[in-house]
């Protein structure tokens, strides 16, 4: 029967030493160096809020030094009366016809490393790539910005509107119950750095995105805030394997990243491994339940007239049921990133 278990699609639970990409825009200035080890919270780049295009004449003393590469940071040049109009510091977009197109802008924000790791690649104006020391818990989407903080698990049945207070400022909170945009707005207002949720409805995602856009537009911004969604859009509880991992990482400093969507966990924590034949039901009338794989259940017609391959699952509540394999998933132990 263990061979037939592979009929059930496997989902990665943890990724060892993941490579993450921190998004940059043309004009952002990377301060970290490729190969350098960085620690969580260290500044790795400066992001400019309102990039603008500046056209500058190539200075005479630069003309014979060859064309600098696109993405090169060009220092500011002072104006010289009657000779040179000067140019602000900025990133070179390209040089053509004796003129440079630079991307420049005021009010740089700092981009911090979301976890301990090493800078492995810089794509100027595109992304900074880091290899993280610890493993990453696989999620489906990060809404908002990468961040880090101490992981705090709220109790299963807690009301986030009451449980989220200023004592949690600086933390990344796991919200196991029903979550909506109001709860997330409250979390942000309390100085919480991020939230981990099992699912989030489309409407709440849009509210959150609109709120983030308003924050981006403001001159005095609030601190970055990210919401990491581990599942989809319909309300679901955390699977037991995920819950065990979060329990084990509780109290540690974790990071939230979106490319790929991961909760970055510390390298020094012992994390529980999922059991191989543990099955999670993610759809249908048994959604949210877990059990053990017994073997193929044959092709069966489900309510509504569709026929589908099923699997026999011994649910944790003692029942044995045939469930369409499409509504089942299992966790792979460790899958290499990429």
């Amino acid at each position: 029967m263990t061979g037939s278990l592979e009929l059930v699609p496997a989902r990665a639970l943890l990724v060892p030493r993941p490579r993450i990409r921190l998004e940059l825009q043309p004009g952002d200035r990377v301060t970290a160096v490729v190969g350098e080890a960085v620690h969580v919270g260290e500044v790795v780049a400066e992001r400019i809020r309102d990039p603008r295009l500046v056209e500058a004449v190539v200075p005479r003393d630069g003309a014979d030094q060859g064309i600098p590469l696109p993405g090169t940071w060009v220092p500011a040049e002072h104006a010289l009366a009657g000779r040179h109009a000067g140019a602000p510091a900025g990133e070179l977009l390209f040089e053509h016809g004796g003129r440079r197109r630079l991307v420049s802008g005021p009010h740089p924000d700092r981009l911090h490393a979301p976890a301990d790791g090493r800078v492995v690649e810089v794509e100027p104006g595109v992304a900074l790539v880091m290899e993280i020391d610890g493993p990453g818990l696989v999620a489906t989407e990060l809404l908002g910005e990468p961040h880090w903080g101490r992981l705090v698990l709220l109790p299963e049945e807690s009301d986030p509107r009451l449980a989220l207070d200023v004592a949690l400022a600086g933390a990344v909170v796991v919200l196991p119950g029903r979550v909506d945009a109001e709860a997330l707005a409250r979390a942000r207002a309390m100085g919480i750095r991020g939230a981990v949720v099992a699912s989030l409805a489309e409407r709440d995602r849009r509210d959150l995105a609109a709120s983030a856009a308003r924050q981006q537009a403001g001159l005095h911004r609030l601190a970055p805030f990210g919401v990491l969604v581990l599942g989809g859009y319909l309300r679901r509880a955390f699977a037991s394997a995920v819950r065990s991992t979060l329990d084990a990482a509780s109290g540690a400093v974790v990071g939230l990243v979106g490319d790929p969507p991961l909760l970055l966990l510390p390298a020094d924590r012992q994390l529980p491994l999922p059991e191989l034949d543990q099955i999670v039901v993610h759809g249908g009338p048994e959604a949210g339940r877990e059990g053990r794989w017994l073997g193929p259940g044959g092709i069966r017609r489900v309510r509504g007239g569709i026929t589908a391959e099923t699997g026999l699952v011994a649910l944790d509540d003692g029942r044995t049921v045939a469930i369409p394999i499409g509504e089942l998933e299992r966790f792979a132990v460790l899958v290499a990133n990429g």
Partner: protein, 571 residues
């Protein structure tokens, strides 16, 4: 009296003799090489879709190929385990046949396989000097199956173009100018090339397509040498997309040798040649969609050739909701009342977990999403491929298997609103893609002919006259099948279903009170019809279909029709 000649609509696959009864499938690029004697007894097909992994076991029975077992699982399932399940199932159902095809003699890994793979639509950044050229490049790229972000130097500054081309998910860059460049493009072409070099320097490994006379010197000077591919310049007027060499080159650059959508085009050509029918394939997947039209014609050597046109439409992917109005259209077709926020959530969940929510109204929601997707596919391709004149419509892709077969016929009838008679079938075992990977036309045609009626699941024949006055007696149908004769009074405005099982065929004589259009316009028509799981559907509703504006009335009416072809929907 005007009429359609009998025989214009022929029965489904299998009516013509196989051109080579001893046809052996040629292995595709990824086929597992096996001993010759095994190739002649059985082989596997695998279609790796974005959402679904479909497998089939095809074996030789009485000197012809037969489909022995087939199934589908969510993508991510192990293909070898799936194939093992098929063999176990055959051993259990027919041990002698399993023994005969050698199921115990060789390990599964040694059996030949035909493998097709759906390549999810990747994102291509299109930058052009002018809006005119951008529109042509964008049209070709979308028709080749790319997701496209596009801008032109005429409207967008270089910073915005760079941000557009370096955003996450963009894997390739298409830079183009007309050949010869238009007057307003000449000055911009060089600067465009420099901007492209700037983009390529930021993205190591990015593929760069240069369409037309774009200078490549700046790109070659770039620090991280990009992969540069020269393509023909955008040419032609709108409507010539299917024949566009640029589109074909972009399609070839996107997919691999076993790309299932390209393979579908090859399989459609084989069907057209073998059956002598004009074939249309409506392929709907979770990551993309395509429409293929193949028409037979005389070949230079006296045989039958086929002209095949394919247009891919990423926007017609099954649960794609990022275009204005796409959720509204699904809501329009959905027969269960659901608030909009909940509907969006369920569709979004299906987009990331296409196999969840299978039962009860989840199936109805899939049906509504499929109608919306086919609407988008036809709207995007009708200007290029036209909207009629085919004999056989085939539903391909996992979306068609996610609803009961008769309901699939209803979906075709609801959305493909064309006057005339057409046979409908679905690629139930997902064989067309893998078979289409066979490079040799003769070998592929022989396999298509050899598989006969096992290749497609016939749903029936849909007859759709245009121009009847609703809710009035419309005329009479006389159906003759192998000596049996039945008469049905027709009332315009709804469906008339006549039981005609798979394998049955006959002649339908239609006598109308008015002069509706059924191909030509007339009172009396004689049509050859073939059966299927839905039978003969006389669709006497309006063309285009007019439904009540009020949602409750629309749902009630749609539900009435749906119930007729999908009785299990309320179970």
């Amino acid at each position: 009296m005007s009429h359609v000649e009998p025989g214009t609509a022929e029965p489904l696959v299998g009516t013509r003799p196989a051109s080579s009864p001893a046809a052996v499938p040629a292995p595709s690029a990824r086929a597992v090489v096996a001993p010759a004697h095994d190739r002649e007894t059985a082989f596997f097909t695998l279609d790796h879709g974005t959402a679904t992994l479909a497998g089939a076991l095809v074996g030789r029975v009485d000197r012809r190929w037969r489909l022995l077992a087939a199934t589908a699982l969510p993508a991510g399932s192990n293909p070898d385990t799936l194939l093992g399940l098929l063999v176990d199932r055959l051993r259990s159902a027919d041990p002698a046949r399993a023994e005969a095809i050698g199921s115990r003699a060789e390990p599964l890994a040694a059996w030949p396989r035909l493998v097709a793979t759906s390549v999810p639509a990747a994102t291509l950044a299109v930058i052009a000097a002018t809006e005119r050229t951008r529109a042509r490049l964008e049209e070709a790229a979308v028709g080749a199956g790319w997701n496209v972000v596009a801008g032109s130097a005429e409207r967008t500054d270089p910073l915005a173009l760079t941000r557009l081309a370096t955003r996450p998910g963009v894997v390739a860059l298409l830079v183009g100018v007309a050949d010869p460049p238009d007057a307003d493009e000449r000055d911009l072409a060089a600067e465009l090339a420099v901007a492209a070099a700037g983009i390529a320097a930021r993205r190591p490994g990015m593929r760069v397509f240069l369409a037309g006379p774009v200078p490549d010197a700046p790109l070659l000077d770039a620090w991280r040498a990009p992969v540069i591919v020269r393509l023909p310049a955008p040419a032609g007027a709108p409507g010539e997309l299917a024949a566009s060499t640029l589109r074909a080159a972009l399609a070839a650059a996107r997919g691999g040798p076993d790309d299932s959508r390209c393979a579908l085009a090859a399989a459609a050509g084989s069907l057209a040649r073998v059956l002598g029918l004009r074939v249309e394939i409506l392929e709907i997947g979770v990551s993309g969609a395509a429409r293929v039209v193949a028409s037979p014609g005389p070949a230079d050597d006296g045989g039958i050739a086929a002209s095949v046109q394919i247009v891919e439409v990423p926007d017609a992917a099954l649960f794609r909701m990022d275009r204005p109005g796409s959720v509204d259209r699904i809501d329009y077709w959905f027969t269960q009342g659901l608030d909009r926020a909940r509907l969006r959530d369920r569709l979004a969940e299906l987009a990331i977990a296409p196999w969840s929510d299978l039962d009860a109204d989840g199936a109805l929601l899939r049906g509504a999403a499929l109608r919306g997707a086919v609407e988008r596919l036809l709207a995007a391709t009708d200007p290029v491929l036209g909207h009629g004149g085919v004999d056989l419509v085939i539903g391909a892709g996992g979306a068609w298997s996610a609803v009961p077969a008769p309901a699939a016929a209803h979906i075709v009838a609801d959305v493909v609103r064309r006057p005339g008679a057409v046979q409908v079938a679905i690629d139930h075992a997902r064989l067309l893609g893998p078979i289409g990977t066979i490079a040799d036309d003769a070998g592929r045609d022989a396999l298509v002919a050899g598989l006969g009626e096992d290749l497609l699941l016939p749903l029936g024949t849909i007859v759709t006259p245009r121009g009847l006055r609703p809710n009035r007696p419309a005329g009479r149908l006389v159906l003759e099948t192998r000596g049996a004769r039945s008469e049905v009074e027709l009332v315009a405005g709804g469906f008339t279903l006549v039981d005609l099982p798979p394998g049955a065929s006959g002649t339908a004589e239609l006598a109308f009170r008015g002069t509706p259009e059924l191909g030509p316009r007339g009172r009396r028509f004689k049509i050859a019809v073939s059966g299927g799981l839905a039978g003969l559907l006389l669709d006497l509703r309006d063309i285009p279909l007019r439904l009540p504006e009020r949602p409750d009335r629309r749902r009630e009416l749609l539900g009435t029709w749906e119930r007729a072809l999908w009785p299990e929907r309320d179970a």
